[in-house]
Symmetry: C2
Subunit: 457 residues, 2 copies
C-alpha cells in the first residue's frame, strides 16, 4: 500500500491540474447547447483512460450523449468490478450566486470549487488516479476492472438503461462500485446502504388563448398563474405532508432498529438550521429531520414560471404558467404509481376556466443494498483503515437511478463508496469538493481493490 | 367639417406611414435598456407638433422619462382643452407569440399590428392629425389646445404627478381630453364615465441561503417556491372572491340603476368565452361578468417565478421565489389601504421556514367623471354624428392613474374619448388597432373641437 499512497502524494498537484482541465468542460447534459461539450468531456476521459493503461477505452454511442467504456482484465477467472460514474453536470443558474464562475475551477481553503467538482467528475477522476497508481506501482490491477462513465445521470439515464440491457455481456461484473454519494460528515467514513428514488413531472396550466390586459379582462378571465398556484397548493397538507391520495401507499415503513440507528448518529437539527440560514425545517410530521431526509418521500417544486418576470410592473393576465416537480421516493414506491396518483390529483383539482397538462419526465425506484456482501465488507475495512475511524452504515436522500438497473439487469450488488459531503452544493451555486476526501478517498479505494481481491478472489 | 374629413381621407396613406415611423421606436418605459428609445420617441413627437403648427412644442424633463408639452392658444378668453396621452408602451414578451415583430408595424385585414398601435401611440397620433387638418383647412383651432404626452403611463406616472403639481399654470385648462380607452364594441360609439384604479406590489419569498440539492435536503429544508404557492393560494377564496380581510371595505356598491344600465347593453358572456378560448369566466360570485370587469376590484398574479425554469429537469430546492401582483380598484378604494391589507395578510400567512418581503410598486385610485358637463355633451354629439349611431355611457375596467390627478390638481373634468377595442391585445402579443376607428375617431374629434367651442365658448 505504502508505495501507492506515496505515488498519489507525489503527483497530487499534477493530478489536481488534470482534474481542473476536466472541470473546465461545461458538460451540462440538460441543455442542448452543450452537446459538443458533452462529447469533448467523454473524449477527454477516454484519452486519459488509454494513457494510464486501460487495455480498451472508447467513447460509445447511446442515442443521446455518449458514454465512456473502458476495461483492463488482468485476472482471468478472478472477480470483476464495474466502476460506474457520470461526467455530466447540473445546470449552473442562477449564475450570479457563484463566487467564481462554475467552469473556472479554483482551490480555496482546501476545497476545489467548480460545477462537477464533487458530483461527479471529481469522484470519477479519483478512480482513474487510483488505477494509474496501481498500474504504475504494481504493474497490474488486483481485480478485473471495467468502467462505465455516462453523460446522462443528471437527466434520468434513460439511454443508459437501454445500453445496459443491450450490452449485458460487455458489462458483466460481480460487483458495481459507485462513488457518487456523500460521507455522513467530515471525518466519518461511511457506506451508504439505501438511496431514494425519483419521479419527475411538469405541470402546465393554460387559460385564455393569449396573455390579456388585466384592466380589460380582469375579473372575468381565467389567470393561469393564479390557477397554477391554487392547484399546486393542494399538493401538500398544512402540516407539511403530501396531500395526494395514494402517495404513501407503497412506502416501506422504517423499522424500530433503523430509527434507533439513525438516532444514534446524533444528527444535529439546530446545526442544519444554522447552515441553511432558516428558523424551521418544515416537512412531514411524525418523523425526525434525518428520517425525512433518508427514508421518507417528498414532493418538491423545483421551478415555477408564468407571466411577466421582467423589471417593473406589467398589468397582464398570464395565459400560461407551469411548474417543474420532482418526488424523492423510498423503498418500495414505484415511480409510475407515484406519477399516476399525482396526475389523478392534479386533474381532479383543476380550477375552472383553465386546462392542465401533465408531462411525465421519468423516474427511478429507490434502492437498498445487502450489507452482508463480501464487497461491502471489503469496503468497510478499507474505509476504516484509510480514515482511521470506524466506518458507519448510512442512507442517503439522493438518487442514483441506475443502481436499480444494475441489480435488475446485471444481478450485481452496488457498493456505494462516496466521498462528497452534503454541504458541498452539488446541484446549486458554489459546488465544491473537500480535498481531504480526495486524498483519503483514493487511499481507501487503493486498499479496497486489494481487499476485494482477497474476499472475492 | 366636410373639408376637414376630405383632408384626412386624402392624406390617409401618408398619415399611416408617419404613424408606423412612431411605432417603430421601441419606447418601453419599464425596461431601462430602452432609455434612449424613450427620448427618441419624445423628440419625434415634439418635432411633428412643431411641423403641424403648434406654437410651442418641446421635450421637458421629469426626473424619469421626458414628456412632450405643446400648445396653440388661438382663442384669447375662449375655453382651453388639455389633451393628455402617452408615448410609452408595455414590454413585449413573450416575443414568440407575436405573428409579426412588435416594432415592425404591419397592416393586415384593416388592422394595424404593432406594440402601441392602440395603447396609446395610435390614439395620440389621431389628435395630431386632427389638429393638422384643422390648421390646414381652417387656419386656426376652434379652442385653445395644450398637449401633454408622457412617457411613464405604463409604469405608474409617478414623475408626471410631480410635474403636474409643479406646472399648474402651464397646464391650466377647462377640460382634459384623453383618448386611451376603448369603445363598447365595434360600431358602438361610447364615452367612458368611470375607470378602475390600480395597486401594485411584488412578493418575494426566501428560504435557505442558497438553492439546495433536493436529494440531500428534501424533506427537511424550506422550499421557497412551495411556500410562495401556499401563500398566494390564500389570497383568493375557493369561490373566486378575494380572501384578504378588508379588501372590499371601501368599495362603493353598484346602484340598481347602474346594474340595470349594464344589463341593457346585452353583454354576451358566451361570446367572451369563445373569444378567449375558455370554458368558464371565473371571478367574484354574485356579479355578472360585465359588473366584475367594470365595477368590482380584482387581485391578479401578473407573473410568478422561482427555481429552475430551463429545459429538462433540475432536482433543486429553490431558495427564492416571487410574484408580481396588481389589483384593479374601484371607487372609493384607496390604493394605500388595499396595499396595507394585502401586506398584513401575506405577513400573517407566511409559511414556516421562509421569509416574506413585500415591495410596494405604486397605485392610483379609480375615477368617475360627471356626465352632465358641457364637454361631455359635446363629445356625445360628435360621437353620435361621426359613427351614425347613438353614443352610450360606459365604464372601463382599465386604469388611467393620472385622471384622478387632473381632477385633484387642475380641477378639470376628463373627457374619455377612446377609440380602441377591448380585443386589441393592448398589453399582450399581437397588439393592433382597427383602422375604421382611426378614421371615424378622427372624424369625431374634428367635430368635437367645434362643438366644444360652442358649448363652452
Amino acid at each position: 500500500m505504502h508505495r501507492g499512497e506515496t505515488y498519489l502524494n507525489e503527483h497530487r498537484d499534477e493530478h489536481l491540474q488534470q482534474l481542473m482541465e476536466l472541470l473546465r468542460i461545461p458538460s451540462i447534459s440538460a441543455l442542448s447547447e452543450h452537446r459538443a461539450d458533452m462529447r469533448r468531456a467523454a473524449e477527454w476521459l477516454a484519452a486519459e483512460l488509454r494513457r494510464i493503461g486501460l487495455s480498451r477505452a472508447e467513447v460509445m454511442e447511446t442515442g443521446g450523449h455518449p458514454l465512456v467504456y473502458a476495461e483492463r482484465l488482468d485476472n482471468p477467472g478472478g472477480p470483476t468490478a464495474l466502476i460506474y460514474g457520470h461526467y455530466d453536470v447540473q445546470p449552473v443558474d442562477p449564475l450570479d450566486l457563484w463566487a467564481t464562475p462554475p467552469f473556472e475551477p479554483e482551490i480555496r481553503d482546501g476545497k476545489l470549487y467548480a460545477r462537477g467538482a464533487s458530483d461527479d467528475k471529481g469522484q470519477v477522476f479519483m478512480h482513474l488516479k487510483v488505477i494509474e497508481a496501481l498500474l504504475t506501482v504494481e504493474g497490474r490491477l488486483p481485480v478485473n476492472i471495467k468502467l462505465l462513465i455516462e453523460g446522462e445521470e443528471e437527466i434520468g439515464s434513460e439511454n443508459l438503461e437501454r445500453f445496459i440491457a443491450a450490452h449485458k455481456d460487455l458489462l458483466k461484473a460481480d460487483v458495481v462500485v459507485i462513488s457518487d454519494t456523500a460521507l455522513y460528515a467530515r471525518g466519518v467514513p461511511s457506506l451508504t446502504y439505501a438511496l431514494r428514488g425519483l419521479a419527475a413531472l411538469e405541470v402546465h396550466v393554460t387559460g385564455a388563448r393569449g396573455d390579456l390586459h388585466s384592466g380589460a379582462f380582469g375579473g372575468a378571465a381565467p389567470n393561469a398563474a393564479q390557477a397554477l398556484v391554487q392547484l399546486l397548493a393542494t399538493l401538500h397538507r398544512p402540516d407539511g405532508g403530501v396531500a395526494v391520495e395514494g402517495f404513501y401507499d407503497q412506502v416501506r415503513p422504517l423499522t424500530q432498529e433503523e430509527r434507533d440507528g439513525f438516532a444514534a448518529l446524533g444528527f444535529d437539527e439546530e446545526r442544519l438550521k444554522a447552515e441553511l440560514g432558516v428558523d424551521a425545517l418544515p416537512g412531514e410530521p411524525g418523523y425526525t429531520a434525518l428520517e425525512r431526509l433518508w427514508a421518507r418521500p417528498t414532493l418538491e417544486i423545483n421551478g415555477i414560471f408564468g407571466g411577466f418576470q421582467g423589471e417593473g410592473t406589467k398589468t397582464v393576465i398570464p395565459a400560461r404558467a407551469g411548474a417543474k416537480i420532482t418526488c424523492r421516493l423510498v423503498p418500495d414506491q414505484e415511480p409510475e404509481q407515484v406519477l399516476d396518483v399525482i396526475e389523478a390529483h392534479l386533474t381532479a383539482h383543476c380550477p375552472p376556466g383553465v386546462k392542465v397538462e401533465i408531462r411525465r419526465m421519468g423516474g427511478a425506484p429507490a434502492a437498498i443494498t445487502p450489507i452482508d456482501h463480501p464487497a461491502i465488507q471489503a469496503a468497510m475495512k478499507a474505509l476504516t483503515e484509510a480514515y482511521g475511524a470506524e466506518a458507519r452504515f448510512i442512507r442517503t436522500g439522493g438518487s442514483i437511478p441506475i443502481v436499480g438497473t444494475f441489480g435488475a439487469v446485471l444481478g450485481a450488488p452496488c457498493v456505494l463508496m462516496g466521498f462528497g459531503l452534503e454541504e458541498e452544493n452539488f446541484h446549486a451555486p458554489d459546488e465544491h469538493f473537500h480535498l481531504e476526501n480526495f486524498d483519503l478517498g483514493m487511499r481507501a479505494l487503493y486498499r479496497f481493490w486489494h481487499y476485494l481481491a482477497e474476499t472475492m478472489g
